[in-house]
Amino acid sequence: MEKKELVKLWPALVALTIGAAYVTALLAAERQQMIITLLVLGIAAAVGAAWFGIWDAVSRSFSEHETSMGIFTLAATIAVAAYFHDNHFVLLLVITVLLYSVATLGLNVQFGYAGVLNFAGASFFGIGAYTSAVLNSQPGFPHLLVLLIGGFFAALAGSILLLPVLRTRGHYAAVVTIAFALLFKTFLEVNDVLGGPQGMQVKGMNILGWSFNDNIEIGGVSLSFYMNYFVLSLMLLACAFVLVRRLERSWIGLNLDALRLDETAASCFGIDIVRWKITAFLIGNFLIGIAGALFGMVGGFVAPNNYTFADSLILVSILLLGGIGNSWGLMVATIIVVVVPEKLQTIQEYRFLLYAAMVIAVLLFRPEGLLPRPVRQYFPGWRP
């Protein structure tokens, strides 16, 4: 117990505070010059921190005090949202980050742990969103249940792909999911029941008469209606994060790691490859589907063009930038990938191009991602 105290909490806490302040400044900045200056400063600070070895100290203290840091991160997120409590646009952006994080956590279970490829992430996200579009229009249908059903349908659609995904490997499996992504978008476009290329409206969340789409007044302070969604999204992300981290640290995560690193060796040790691949694929799709269902309600609108193959590749880019398998890293990457093009309007149109180029650069020069996944900690305080 004495040894554990050697790693201080404060470096991680300071880093988190600076990070939250930085994100707040970035979100609040309106003028393009200001935003560019902030971005350049951010990059310089990150590179500088890496140069002086501050990064190592921060990440060590972070992993040592993960539970408390998780709570502090929650608090920081709430603080950022509270600062923008009446700003619709910024809150929508924050919610997008939260829900994309949930989706990439799902993708992380598939890609990062089990090594099951999925290049149709946006399609499963879309399945969730379309589920909420259809079910929310049914009167009297409990909307919280819609989230679960969205996840369930995404997992169900994923299970159609299970047979080809299990029978194929590597490049071949990639083609199956790519074909599904293309199929899904074409299907939505030619299908009249689901609104065709124009898409559909989604009714807002309504729990027991409490409509999420009304602004809130508390003691004279008016809050944006997005605050409702923010709270729900944050709860969802917290649950998903805890689930994924527990999964990673448990024996299931160990099985999945073994499976990813060497299928043959894993099966020699008696790990049921098929079973764990199915588990990882379905859990991943379930998380993506739930995030999609809530995102459909937040946006109030679904259309095939939001769930293209290019969007799936954006999700994969997030994963790769963050460092495959590192749940904390991918949340940082989500902030970068979602927020930067929204704030820097000039690059909005070029975002697919930029992220593809960025991933190529990462693969060529830093294949383990910006924040590589740390070595598994078998015991608290244990260091390899």
């Binding site: 071949y172 199929l183 697919f352 991933v359 190529i360």
Partner: protein
């Protein structure tokens, strides 16, 4: 169904099959020499088609009006440019990652495809919209009963066959072909026999990418329209065609291309709601084929090296 309509379907199927086969041969060649799947192959096709279109616009601006001259220059330029692009991709993106996990190669070629596709969409004038492709081949046609035999289709089919025969000849009768086959069979032995591995890989990528450019121009001439997404579609279809035939075998790829086109044509004829769902059907067939025969009709010999 009467004979004329039937012949029409067969002709359409053959044209589609020829395009798929040309793309599939590229996949098979790359897989042969480097054991990688190059997912940017389809987008190289797109860039090739757009290069041809830009060449056409340039020649029109210079006041050249001969259809044949334009076509030849377009084909030569597009093929050469894509051959160089293919070599560059192999040299700077695929080969440096040879020792990395397979996932990285897959991702880098996927993202490279995205870069090419998005570049066409963003930087070609109005690249986001479908572009009309000039009909440069003679537009005469013969009426054989109900069947309308178009001369341009026949010409494209014949030139496609000539190209494939040429590739066959190159691979089986020339020294270069021998070297390519040697590298495909065993890289190390080929090296010890004095084969310049890097050069052979680059040449193979040049050939495959040139074929893609040819297929892209053919696609444009056939539909009289191109858009930035054709490559993604033809890439996925061509890849599945290569898999049906078994990756690594040229004959297999050609067979797979025509088989896939046949399936697609039959699907269009048999399913009443087919016209709108044509592409959905095609992708469903891709997934079904992968589930049924994950490594092709002619099975790949699987042996794990542990």
């Amino acid at each position: 169904m009467d004979a004329g309509l039937f012949a029409q379907y067969v002709m359409n199927g053959l044209m589609l099959g020829m395009m798929y086969a040309l793309v599939a041969v590229g996949f098979t060649l790359f897989f042969g020499v480097l054991d990688v799947i190059k997912f940017s192959h389809g987008d190289v096709l797109t860039v090739g088609a757009f290069t041809a279109l830009a060449t056409y616009a340039g020649m029109r601006a210079l006041g050249i009006n001969s259809d044949w001259l334009e076509l030849v220059v377009m084909l030569v330029l597009a093929t050469l440019a894509m051959a160089i692009l293919g070599m560059a991709i192999a040299r700077y993106f695929v080969m440096p990652l040879r020792s990395a996990p397979a996932l990285n190669t897959l991702l880098i070629t996927l993202m490279l495809g995205t870069v090419l596709r998005e570049s066409v969409r963003l930087f070609y004038p109005q690249g986001a919209n479908p572009k009309p492709f000039p009909a440069l081949l003679p537009r005469t046609s013969f009426d054989l009963g109900d069947f309308n035999l178009r001369v341009d289709n026949v010409l494209m089919l014949v030139s496609g066959i000539l190209i494939i025969v040429g590739i066959q000849y190159l691979l089986n009768r020339t020294k270069l072909g021998l070297a390519i086959r040697a590298v495909a069979q065993d890289e190390e032995t080929a090296r010890t026999m004095g084969v310049n591995f890097t050069a052979i890989v680059l040449v193979t990528f040049a050939i495959g990418s040139g074929l893609a450019a040819f297929a892209g121009v053919m696609n444009g001439l056939y539909y009289n329209e191109i858009n930035f997404g054709i490559g993604l579609y033809l890439g996925v279809v061509g890849f599945s065609a290569a898999i049906i035939g078994g990756l690594g075998s040229i004959y297999g790829a050609i067979l797979g291309g025509f088989l896939f086109a046949g399936l697609q044509t039959i699907g269009t004829v048999l399913l009443p709601f087919a016209s709108a769902y044509k592409d959905v059907f095609a992708f469903a067939v891709v997934i079904a084929i992968m589930a049924w025969r994950p490594t092709g009709l002619i099975r790949e010999k699987i042996s794990e090296r542990v």
